[in-house]
Symmetry: C3
Subunit: 260 residues, 3 copies
């Protein structure tokens, strides 16, 4: 079976592709492990400025987990813990913890595990005919709590529960209205808009993007900032990129950032 996580970097933009063409890119155990490890590897690569996550082809981002596999890989509580905590939840955390900006490029089905992955990205750009949900109430099992964090942070408990309790499939406009998506464009323009979004991110200072992710995450913890943290918030003052950014603004020209 041709199932894998594809990975490539072009001009500082990493693309991570979920590949399982026979099952609308349903994510199996090997792919969850691959996604986890790939995202962790990106964390250590200073050349990457932005990550695009997508499904192979145009039919699906990912249509959920691989149900057939459940009979073997999560037959016992220990197996299920390994599958959902070690593989799935850790893969999702690796997406959420990614130091650089992440964009989910969504065409077609974005269901179950696919929705969980998209919900852990920073920006979600979807086509008009894409669809969203997690109809596992009809499969007789509940979502692992460790997999809910990204969706809860994104849309809050009411929307998460609406999706889980009803098991309904939402269209792109509904998903946008409920805060699940950053924007919706024509199907054939999804990758164009994702490229434009990535270009906007890459036109900014790379360290600034990392700091913004870091500080927002830090603030969400709720604890007040220490004096040392307040001072660290001005680390940009010592960077070449800050001088370049201000000089370019005052000179009315485009800045050229080098990430230092």
């Amino acid at each position: 079976m041709d199932t894998r996580i594809e990975f490539g970097i072009v001009d500082g933009i990493a693309t991570v592709t979920l590949v399982n063409p026979a099952k609308l890119n349903a994510v199996n155990a090997a792919m969850w492990r691959g996604l986890r490890d790939t995202m962790r590897r990106i964390a250590g690569d200073d050349c990457v400025r932005c990550v695009v996550l997508r499904g192979a082809g145009e039919e699906a981002f990912a249509a959920g987990g691989d149900i057939e596999e459940f009979l073997t890989v999560r037959a016992t509580v220990d197996d299920a813990l390994h599958y959902h905590d070690e593989l799935v939840a850790n893969a999702l955390d690796a997406v959420r913890d990614c130091a650089v900006p992440t964009i989910a490029a969504i065409r077609g089905a974005c269901i179950g595990g696919g929705l969980e992955i998209a919900g852990c990205c920073d920006i979600r750009i979807a086509g008009e005919s894409s669809r969203f949900g997690a109809p596992i109430n009809r499969l007789g099992f509940s979502m692992y709590p460790g997999e809910m964090a990204g969706l809860l942070a994104l849309v809050g408990p009411a929307v998460v529960l609406e999706i889980l309790l009803e098991g309904r499939i939402l269209n792109a406009r509904e998903a946008l209205q409920k805060g699940l998506l950053s924007r919706v464009v024509d199907d054939e323009k999804v990758f164009e808009e994702v490229a434009a979004c990535a270009a906007r991110i890459c036109a900014g200072a790379p360290l600034v993007a990392r700091w913004h992710k870091q500080w927002v995450k830090r603030l969400m913890s709720g604890a007040p900032l220490s004096d040392a943290e307040k001072r660290a918030a001005f680390d940009f003052l010592a960077t070449d990129d800050y001088r370049e950014g201000i000089a370019a603004f005052l000179g009315k020209r485009k800045p050229v950032f080098r990430g230092r």
Copy 2:
């Protein structure tokens, strides 16, 4: 006066109806007590798979509290504490804590206490001409903090304050846009859509619905999951319904769940 909480169960779907036809279903002290006790009773009934909350008739969900009654039932701080904490806040908590999915079916006025009740349900389906607000700034009193929790969890502090400070009545489209509603349909289709929603909920495994509500609530507390809780998240593995759900999926047929 014909004021009461009606209650009935048909095919696992409980319907709780606010009845006060002379006052657009305004909720008085006896009705708050009835709502509290009814919701608590449902908590102990394993036959119920879904609860629909609605107002009697088509003119109102509930137009608020019963203002005339305030002169007698909450004249002192002790009386007010009994009314708002023992009756209202506990009734709202009983709705929020309901173990099975709850749907608010909203036609017409959904004001004050009515809005508080709807905000504590899992799903809110409203008609195009329904209207929302809590214009108590013009009555000279503030909302009891213990009654705000559901609305704050649903839409956050900014929308709650906009409603309370301005005292404006919102139409259904505004309420949807602000996250107060799950969806809006034509007035005459509200109960049809609520029935379809309840049917979707009842087509899922009953235990799964209860687990989803339980885990989302647990995660909102913020504390990390213990190892025992992580294992408990896989209690579904031991259920007949899980085996049925997977078998039905693989057999491309509809599952029949029995709640065990």
Copy 3:
């Protein structure tokens, strides 16, 4: 240079105007100090029932900070701490902590510091052609975490990160959809709608508005209410305005509140 914070009170409505016509009302250090001190002064004035924050003219609410000034006023970490913590963050906190309702009246550019100020108001009313963002990733610096609190409370981490990472300028409809705005009206109707909103606020009991702001803020802290706080929630029972509000309701006339 004509840069200042204008301040005036008419009929209990205070208007705070950001004035820097040469730079689309960009907020400089002196203006941040002025905003902070003005908002703190309002806190002690019992005559004020509502505060409107706006930019001078019709071109901008505020187009950000004053970039040129950065070369001198925040050249070192100590200077930056003074600028962003003592001036900016404290000014924003003074807006958020304002005891009476605040309305941002937004025409044109609402960028960077301007967006931060608007995000700390209770209600945001904007014109169709207004625009929103914080494209500082292209200036090579990150937003001070102490300035993010209002926006995070308003729209959550996903929308804040989308704005910061991409540095894109949003139009009014997108800003509304993402929860950044309370409502959008035709450009030429912004101040009319703000006046109507302020009139609705002023038609309510002044103490009730203050209590609503206080209790929502208190609940967002997460700690359970003490018995003393629960009793304090009924302080309205002892006010003239409560008696007036109920009497007017029962007498089917407009109440006249005196703030006591």
